[in-house]
Symmetry: C3
Subunit: 317 residues, 3 copies
């Protein structure tokens, strides 16, 4: 009948096929209702242990996973790199194996190294969910973006989505591109040339450096967070310039479809990549993305945990 | 029969009337027994999500709210400013709306800005409980102080309470004054002149700068924590001087009522605002205050959550 | 029939007799199975509150206790010194009494001061479990080491165990020595002379400074973590030298029993006190120690909580 999920991990959308992505989305749909109940809890993962292993600070993603796990009745343990034995020089794999030895069911990992989640997934029998690894992938963010688009537009096949911002250094962009193109959307990336990675077209996207051109063709635009604050003192003039050339404003949206959908993974830089008016306006679905993140992460955890129980494990080498 | 609670938030005692304050106190009374059971848990908030959003470090208050929520069977999420997206420049209102989008029921907020809790309460449909905002209010601390007084003295109407310490910069003092005067207590504030805010008499209190005079008239004295440590190297001589002039000691209490009640919101500065002998002595109810904090916070969370379910929400602007 | 546990605290193995240690081990045996179930949870401590009070950062031990408590269905509160009111100068005893006033059942404490756990245990009616205090004791680590040895060798009586590393500054070594000797094991300590405390023989152990001699006589070797990183820049040459003279390597194990058991409390310094090949090899039980830590800590929490309920408390002075 329905497709079955057979992977113990969720590491990225590049590996998944259309059916697998659709299965996560439909599972998320059925979990979304839980968070609207008076008692927002189902016993699906009761007695399971979920570890949030975060090597980069991220309250938003950690809290979303923590709430999702608790609404599935799992026990949740938070490990932040600041207080972890990483400080004592333990490697990620050692840490993973130690966590696994605690008979943990799911490790949600965020790491600044691209490939960290894949490496961890190979090292442990526990399920691993990638909560963002370097510039590589952030699959649950892309899934919640796609879930929200589908909720709003009724379908993904054939819709036109622009992703605007620092494409070169964005795991959110990469995961969105994999997921959207697999489901048949037309994806355009838009940024200053220097922020577009070489050969990005090979991922099946169109490249545009003119924001107005990108907006004109789009059913939805996913506005990435610009991280100028890393530049220190020189950030402000660069922010102003970026806002002038690529910021999503009312003026600019006049040339777009009237009901264009505005998305942003958060946290917002108001007045840098988007104006407050648009971020808080009628076209924005930014807070709905946050809401949908819970459902998508409940679905991801539920599916990997269930698949993992059906796998007969041998000791990893 | 009994008064009903209709507010979605608990932001301060200034806004509440006598009946509302009494209702929290009587609700706390019925919850106090839970913490004496073998299984210290009731299902009142099962399936509800409580977020502790702390922009100032405060283990004591955070832990008290966390335990209270867990004894009501709620799920609790801790967010500390050190690791929050506040670092990325997100505003309090953005943070609040994002938390609300996670379908959270109660946000317990501590913030160094006076008015932060009110602002947050207006921005979100979730219930907001003020766990201390700048110099403004700390309502649950005052409620637990008043609860303890009522437990010891049988009533609040007509009792004489002195509040000693840095009145000018104390949200604990302000909330106590609002709560105690509304319930009919006679409140005296006592401090060096420089620590008494102008026009404090308009809050309905008597001002005294002689500690012996304050003690002589009191059924109870609430000793505030002095924060000299902010002064760095110059703290020690100032601490000595304060202790000499305002410290609560055995010598000084000889002139007070024999059964005067000694309160302190903690943590103690032994030998600064109070001597160890008195803090640990028979008149001290300091640890009972801590115990009562759980009951009062259970009551506050229970009442706001229940009221909020009965409110039909529109989207906040 | 079975021995009964009557202590409200678990502070160290020095105080315990053979029967008490055996009771923890057999209780742990029965709890070990819980972590292999599909629903890894028993209601033994439902409605109880456990506080992890950590004055030293230790993700591994904290997480192990947190998971153990949650599998017993307890509510767990984490307090780390970085965010605690310790910063405001509160003493350990004040902190303990405040935590107790929250009607907490068990305080798990880690502290850099030898004797801290004993001091805390005397100050509060709540149960106290020592999770490591200075150079003094780390009883649950030793118990999980001994549990693992018993699981592998079938007995402790008469087995030969070497402890290798910085004996002088190791609470793990001290607790292991107390526990193993009480149960009748023959214990050898092996280290450079400067890392052997004077009069250690009085604890009933043999002292050896030649690692090959120690290995030759051992059924098992417990390799301690070397903390050279505290030495800053000079660490590397000292690490190399230590590895050359005391590191556990394949070469060195050629002269040992073929099935010698290799233990390490973690986290590993690969290439300092042990080679990767041996740490990950067939003789290593390092990850099994981690797994057994959960069972041992469940047993410890269960026993102290149960004993404490049967004690009629008077107010501590």
């Amino acid at each position: 009948m329905t497709a079955a999920w057979s992977r113990k991990d969720l590491l990225g959308l590049e590996d998944l096929n259309r059916e697998e992505i659709s299965l996560i989305l439909s599972t998320a749909e059925s979990f979304k209702e839980v968070s609207t109940r008076e008692i927002k809890k189902v016993p699906a993962l009761r007695g399971k242990t979920v570890v949030n292993l975060f090597y980069e600070p991220s309250t938003r993603t950690r809290v979303s996973f923590e709430i999702a796990a608790k609404r599935l009745s799992a026990d949740v343990i938070n490990i932040a790199s600041e207080t972890s034995s990483v400080r004592k020089g333990e490697t990620l794999i050692d840490t993973g194996r130690n966590i696994e030895a605690l008979k943990v069911d799911i490790i949600v990992v965020r790491h600044n190294y691209s490939g960290a989640a894949v490496m961890l997934g190979r090292s442990v029998k526990a399920s691993v969910i990638n909560a963002g690894d370097g510039w590589h992938e952030h699959p649950t963010q892309a899934l919640l973006d796609i879930f929200t688009l589908k909720e709003k537009l009724g379908r993904i096949e054939g819709i036109k989505v622009s992703i605007v911002g620092d494409i070169a250094h964005s795991r959110v962009a990469r995961s969105n591109i994999w997921g959207l193109t697999k489901l048949g959307a037309n994806v355009t990336v838009c940024a200053p040339k220097i922020l577009i990675p070489p050969a990005i077209e090979e991922m099946g996207v169109k490249v545009v450096t003119d924001i107005d051109e990108a907006l004109a063709r789009s059913d939805a635009v996913n506005v990435l967070r610009m991280q100028f604050e890393r530049d220190g003192e020189s950030a402000f003039p660069r922010q102003l310039e970026y806002f002038k050339n690529f910021g999503i404003t009312r003026e600019r949206l006049k040339k777009a479809k009237k009901d264009i959908i505005i998305m942003h993974p958060g946290p917002l830089n108001r007045g840098v990549e988007i104006s407050s008016e648009i971020a808080d306006g009628l076209n924005s679905v930014i807070l709905e993305q946050v809401t949908n993140g819970i459902a998508v992460r409940m679905a991801a955890m539920f599916l990997v945990a269930q698949a993992n129980e059906n796998i007969s494990h041998e000791t990893p080498d």
